[in-house]
């Protein structure tokens, strides 16, 4: 484990959360998904534009270079002409603004005097307009973690983007139902110094957001972006961390990645590599070397009329394949950049060759033809000519950046906690005013009225759970952090199952199943409800919970079917009693000789038969009772 204070880790968090308002941010469509509506699809194209400062944003230019046809799917119960960019936005939803201002006050952030809705250029198609409408609602503020104060940068309110459904070669599909749902964003200053602290801050902000009672819950309603740098590195924005628990891994990996890139920089400097060497290198057409290659990727490209270009990276030998941790390699950085910018798949470098069907001979000729020395690396690209040349430029660009260490960029988080290159970091040039919505003045009176009715914090809620249900403080907080308080209360009140059992199932057990790699998405509240009903009326032992839920997750059947299949039904009490009586009779002598030993033995036998079906404590008490009866009979 790293000593994060030594590497100068600085993390800033951006927590995005959907608001559970009745209507969307700029129109009257519902924010809850409505099933079974008529739906239409339509096609659009987007173009880059200049900002009000006359600049074109790097990130926007980047997206426009990859211009694809965009297909939108619009479900007409959740989408109107506003989301389709066929009608100007209506006024900013006052309910959403109020939630955002309430959050601001809870975080001690200062509301702006006048809200200006901006257009943030995003031309990947996720917004039909080509921009995301967003506004700063409050500036500054703070949140306390243990004894540390984490300053808040700003609180913004924005429209959620459309959900991507499918990416094809020249086409990208989006569903518009999510577009326009209000999204609050709380961003902290980059002062977080360890992965653990990042999680704590995320939870703390989450509790404040949930205290409003107006945030959405469940998959896809929360997204975290991280801004990570280490000393000597550069701020790297990592987008789309869906689960809080992944934050830790992402931070750990990013630190490793930046440290590796800094190490490579030092190594390159030691080797005397200069930027001019890289810029000066000319691409060499090496198609003929591979005319009879057994590499399937290269063969396919050549057969389709493509070419193979090589570029020498002077002094890079050995550095491309070196990986301190899985997924962290300079070679992967270069390939990731090439894939995104020029959409070229066939890229190889000499550090990893011979391999992938490329032979020792081919590599030797490649090195000869390109005049590559021992200490140089050669990267080859197989693609149609224009794309291949594009890719070579991207490779040079990234290789040059290696001499500076860590490039500033936006990366996307993957479910395993590693990241991939996404695009350059967007600048302020991608913001310009949303002229369809006049600025909204926030009066001092309004702020005072909000201050007078701030919601209770979740500490109060936790205390109530402890008092009402006899839960431990820890379990109560766990329910709150797992965002299942409502489900918990609902299940307990409807089934009468023991509160602690329900609470630990909804939190610890589900977490543990997920940790074991079980996909718990199939477990619904209805499953839980049915299981606890059966527990309450004594038909199933609470011990069966893990087995039953595991089977539900894996097979998705109903609870009864699973209990039947796993033979987990509790036997009738009379059956257990008879069995115990018989056993006790059979072992009468042993019991009279050494009662403790006999009880242990008989419990073992009984549990073998009834484990998971009858509560062990119940069996134990029944057994002791039977022994008492035996003894009194005997006397």
């Amino acid at each position: 484990m790293e000593d994060y204070s030594k590497v100068g880790l600085k993390v800033g968090l951006e927590i995005h959360r959907q608001l559970n308002t009745k209507k969307k941010l700029f129109c009257d469509c519902p924010t809850e998904a409505v099933e079974g509506a008529e739906s239409i699809t339509f096609m659009r194209r987007l173009r880059e534009v200049q900002s009000e400062l006359g600049m074109v944003d790097a990130a926007a230019m980047f997206e426009s270079r990859k211009r694809k046809t965009i297909i939108y799917h619009a479900d007409l119960k959740n989408v109107c002409l506003v989301e389709m960019d066929e009608e100007p936005p209506h006024n900013l939803n006052p309910e959403a603004l109020e939630v955002a201002l309430t959050v601001a006050l809870l975080l001690d952030s200062k509301p702006v005097d006048e809200v200006h809705v901006m257009r943030k250029i995003v031309i990947d198609g996720s917004n039909t307009t080509g921009f995301q409408r967003t506004c700063v609602v409050a500036i500054g503020g703070q949140i306390k973690i243990k004894n540390k104060i984490i300053p808040i940068q700003a609180i913004t309110l924005e429209e959620d983007a459309a959900r991507i459904i499918e990416v094809r070669k020249d086409e990208v599909h989006y569903d518009l139902s999510r577009l326009g749902i209000p999204l609050i964003e709380v961003s902290t200053e980059p002062v977080i110094e360890s992965p653990e602290e990042a999680i704590e801050v995320a939870y703390a902000i989450g509790r404040i957001l949930r205290a409003t009672g107006k945030v959405k819950r469940g998959i896809g309603t929360v997204r975290q972006d991280l801004n990570i740098s280490i000393r000597g590195g550069a701020p790297v924005e990592i987008k789309g961390v869906q689960e809080l628990e992944l934050i830790q891994k992402v931070v750990e990996n990013e630190v490793k990645r930046q440290m590796h890139l800094l190490w490579i920089k030092e190594e390159l400097l030691k080797r005397g590599v200069k930027k001019e060497d890289i810029w000066g290198a000319k691409p060499v057409d090496v198609t003929s070397i591979f005319s009879k290659t057994s590499s399937r990727v290269i063969k396919r490209q050549i057969e389709a009329g493509g070419v193979v270009y090589a570029i020498v990276l002077k002094g890079f030998a050995g550095l491309l394949a070196l990986h301190p941790s899985p997924g962290i390699r300079l070679g992967a950085e270069i390939a990731g950049r090439v894939k995104v910018w020029s959409e070229v798949e066939g890229i190889f470098h000499t550090d990893e060759l011979p391999n992938y069907g490329i032979t020792v001979e081919e590599v030797k000729v490649l090195r000869d033809v390109t005049h590559a020395g021992e200490s140089d690396a050669v990267v080859i690209v197989a693609a149609e000519e224009g794309k291949a040349l594009d890719a070579i430029n991207v490779i040079k660009e990234r290789a040059v950046e290696a001499l500076d260490g860590v490039p500033e960029e936006t990366r996307a988080a993957r479910p395993d906690g590693t990241t991939v290159y996404m695009r350059p970091r967007p600048g302020s040039a991608r913001m310009y005013p949303e002229t369809d919505i006049p600025p909204i003045v926030i009066s001092q009176d309004y702020i005072e009225s909000l201050k007078a009715r701030l919601p209770p914090t979740l500490d109060t809620t936790a205390q109530q759970l402890v008092e009402r249900y006899g839960l431990s403080k820890q379990l109560a907080n766990d329910l709150i952090d797992s965002e299942v308080v409502e489900d918990f209360e609902d299940i307990v009140s409807k089934t009468g199952a023991p509160p602690t059992l329900v609470a630990s199932t909804l939190t610890e057990l589900l977490r543990s199943l997920r940790r074991d790699g079980i996909n718990i998405e199939k477990i619904t509240k209805a499953h839980m409800m049915r299981f606890f009903e059966l527990v309450s009326c004594g038909k199933v032992a609470k011990e069966a919970v893990r087995d039953v839920l595991t089977a539900v997750a894996q097979k998705g059947q109903n609870v009864e079917q699973i209990i039947e299949e796993l033979r987990l039904w509790s036997p009738p009490t009379s059956e257990v009693e008879d069995k115990i009586k018989t056993l006790v009779k059979e072992h009468k002598q042993e019991i009279l000789n050494d009662e403790r030993k006999a009880v242990a033995k008989l419990m073992g036998k009984l549990m073998k038969d009834y484990r998971g079906r009858v509560n062990g404590a119940l069996i134990n008490s029944m057994l002791l009772k039977a022994i008492q009866e035996l003894k009194s009979d005997t006397l």
Partner: protein
């Protein structure tokens, strides 16, 4: 201190800014209500609340800061002023058809205007070409910035000016003309040009946009590309309107200038052909012609009649409406009316005597229907027959707006003392496809 460098600021804020020698675009520090802000002073919409300044924060967001007596503003550095950077005009390929783009204003050529905070026309045809470089692969393009007006401000004089400019290019044997226009009254202009430039030897394509060209999702580019392609390659010589067929960016409908009307306030597919189909569609770089009664490209029957007289009036009848408005307007010099009546072409029976008096005095009264779709027929009911007897002229399946424009054109081209019968005859003569004798069913496609 130049006043224009403080766009939108007034009163004590303006005084404060002037005192501190701060102008728009400067980096400033503002201390207000116990907080310190740093950012760039932005232009202020004149119609916005006057007690605030707009600041662009380093992260790109704008916020408004209330200025009170204790507020201080100090200049940190002079900065970049918000200006639109002109892109270089792309190189043209010479062996392509010659098309001229005449710009007149409107959303297709508009940008954010800081005075009102609204969208204003600003880009000229040259800017459009720089923004949509694909155009140079379709045609060899010349541009002319004729007007810069919102379409609601377009007048008869503009129609005449547009007709003159187009006629000039026709005589220079250009291959096609594209006219960019605000969408609100583009239908009227299309009708006016259809009557002013009859049977032209080249396509004359009006084009607009429902989303301004400063937005990534603007329909300006797709519409303009289709318009230029139509002007360059269409086999017909007609005045047409090129706009989105539907919500998608794939198909552009080419409507006949006398058949088209804006039927939606904001949607891309606002323009529809009424009582007819579009005459062509532009899709995947191809122009597909669907009408067969078109004036061919190179036609030698070109007639140029760019005169209009605005003493015509369009009236929409509604229940309980009194007819005296007609008398009042006639006294003020109106020479003719288009009444947009109900159903097959009716107004209430108390209008009949008034109409009888007016037509006796030589005032033209034509009837169209507020149904928009369908043909008027004033023989079916007594009320219709009574109106005809009083002198009302049923105008067949002509659109009300087109009938009005045609009446203005008719007055412009007949001598001032022309007989009512001459007016009537001209109004009932199909000049530019404004009257169809056959009504076809709705096939479900526009």
């Amino acid at each position: 201190m130049n006043a224009s460098e403080l766009h939108g600021y007034s009163g004590i804020i303006k005084e404060l800014l002037e005192r501190e020698n701060v102008s728009v675009g400067d980096e400033v520090e503002v201390v207000s209500n116990g907080r310190r802000y740093r950012g760039i002073l932005m232009v202020r919409y004149e119609l916005a609340d006057p007690k605030h300044i707009t600041l662009k924060l380093p992260n790109g967001y704008n916020i408004g800061i209330r200025v009170t007596e204790s507020t201080t503003i100090s200049k940190i550095s002079a900065g970049v002023k918000p200006t639109f950077v002109r892109l270089p005009k792309p190189q043209t390929v010479s062996d392509l058809p010659n098309v001229v783009i005449i710009s007149t204003g409107g959303t297709i050529a508009s940008r954010v205007e800081y005075r009102t905070g609204a969208v204003r026309p600003a880009l000229d045809a040259n800017d459009l070409l720089a923004i949509i470089p694909e155009l140079v692969e379709i045609a060899n393009i010349n541009t002319e910035a004729l007007y810069n007006v919102f379409s609601e401000n377009v007048r008869i004089q503009h129609w005449i000016g547009m007709a003159e400019a187009i006629d000039r290019f026709i005589r220079k044997s250009i291959d096609g003309v594209v006219l960019t226009h605000g969408t609100d009254t583009m239908g009227y202009t299309a009708a006016a040009l259809s009557f002013a430039l009859q049977r032209p030897p080249i396509p004359i394509v009006l084009v607009g946009a429902q989303r301004s060209s400063d937005r990534p999702s603007s329909d300006a580019a797709t519409n303009l590309i289709a318009a230029v392609a139509t002007a360059a390659r269409a086999p017909f010589g007609e005045v047409v309107v090129a706009m989105h067929k539907w919500h998608s960016d794939d198909v552009i409908a080419i409507h006949r200038g006398t058949r088209v009307i804006k039927l939606h306030t904001s949607s891309r597919d606002a323009f529809r052909s009424v009582n007819s189909q579009p005459i062509a569609y532009y899709q995947h770089g191809e122009l597909k012609i669907v009408a067969n009664d078109l004036n061919p490209r190179g036609s030698s029957e070109y007639i140029y009649k760019p005169k209009f007289d605005e003493r015509a009036f369009l009236i929409k009848f509604f229940p309980s409406m009194k007819p005296d408005i007609l008398t009042i307007l006639a006294e003020k010099g109106t020479k003719g009316f288009i009444i947009e009546g109900t159903g097959l072409g009716h107004v209430s029976s108390d209008w009949v005597p008034v109409i009888r008096e007016l037509t006796k005095d030589g005032i033209f009264i034509g009837m169209t229907s507020q149904c928009k779709f369908g043909r008027v027929n004033m023989n079916v009911y007594d009320s219709g027959r009574d109106l005809q007897k009083a002198g009302v002229v049923p105008l067949d399946d002509m659109l009300s707006e087109v009938a009005l424009v045609k009446l203005m054109w008719t007055f412009g081209n007949l001598a001032d003392g022309a007989e009512l019968d001459e007016v009537k005859k001209l109004m009932l003569t199909n000049i530019a496809g404004e009257i169809y004798s056959r009504s076809l069913p709705n096939t479900g496609s526009w």
